[in-house]
């Protein structure tokens, strides 16, 4: 895929980096002059996926999270990936309110929020190898 502009970051799977990941996505995409609402949608979806990589993928152990942002015109592409434990049942994971970690006070709303705030959310996951989330969004043209 040929992007107009792209950035791919690899960072430590630490919860301090969740806000950094949002800043990264927002900072890169401001070039497209998005609305505040669009920017919040992307930040929220990125936050969900990055948090999942840290707490579910790596279960708070060390690891590296990958975050990609790219765009063609007003169409943006986001990927979030980890090389953690993977998802056994992707259908179940996508269900609203389903969480494998209720003891950590997770709400099970992560994927639902990604699907609501972004378009075409795709999950690729192999147990024992890791997970990659693909998301897209078309920004309003002014």
């Amino acid at each position: 895929m040929q992007f107009d502009n792209e950035a791919r970051v690899f960072f430590s799977a630490k919860s301090e980096n969740e806000s950094f990941a949002r800043l990264f996505a927002a900072g890169f995409l401001t070039q497209l002059d998005p609305t505040i609402s669009e920017l919040t949608d992307v930040k929220t979806a990125v936050s969900e996926a990055v948090t999942n990589a840290i707490i579910h993928g790596y279960e708070n152990k060390t690891g590296i999270v990958e975050l990609f942002c790219g765009y063609v015109g007003k169409h943006i592409y986001i990927e979030v990936a980890d090389k953690g434990k993977g998802i056994e049942n992707v259908e179940q994971a996508r269900e609203p309110l389903y969480t494998s970690k209720p003891e950590m006070e997770r709400s099970g709303m992560g994927f639902t929020i990604m699907e609501t705030f972004m378009e075409n959310v795709r999950i690729e996951s192999i147990v024992g190898e890791g997970t990659r989330i693909f998301m897209e969004k078309t920004l309003a043209k002014e």
Partner: protein, 119 residues
């Protein structure tokens, strides 16, 4: 994220400013529990006036507190969330358990069981 705690009648009011994510949610949970212990209170109001960001980790903390408070017969309410945060609460189907109000006074009235006063 910064927190300010205030007790009014039977209600603990928690004014949150900044971002609520998985990283700060642990702190929100810890401090809310210790404020409940030290300051007491049967109801909780989360003041969202100055919350600039929240993801589903915030929902998790609020459901957790709802379960605690409900067993004591108390109520939880959310005051002044922005549109996007209200959408996240609505999505989670929590609007009935954790209703949102545009003003702190309306949230207090609900929490103290005097809805009609505020209307």
């Amino acid at each position: 994220m910064e927190l300010k705690f205030k007790r009014k009648n039977k209600t603990l009011i928690i004014q949150i400013s900044g971002e609520i994510d998985h990283h700060t949610a642990a702190e929100l949970r810890r401090q809310t529990e210790s404020a409940l212990e030290q300051m007491g209170g049967r109801n909780i109001i989360f003041g969202f006036q100055e919350v600039t960001f929240m993801d589903s980790s915030g929902i998790g903390v609020m459901i957790g507190r709802y379960k605690q408070i409900q067993s004591l017969g108390g109520r939880i309410a959310i005051a002044c969330p922005n549109e996007k945060i209200e959408e996240i609460i609505r999505l989670s189907g929590l609007s009935r358990l954790l209703p949102s109000f545009p003003t702190l006074n309306e949230a207090i009235a609900y929490a103290e069981g005097r809805e009609s006063d505020a209307v």
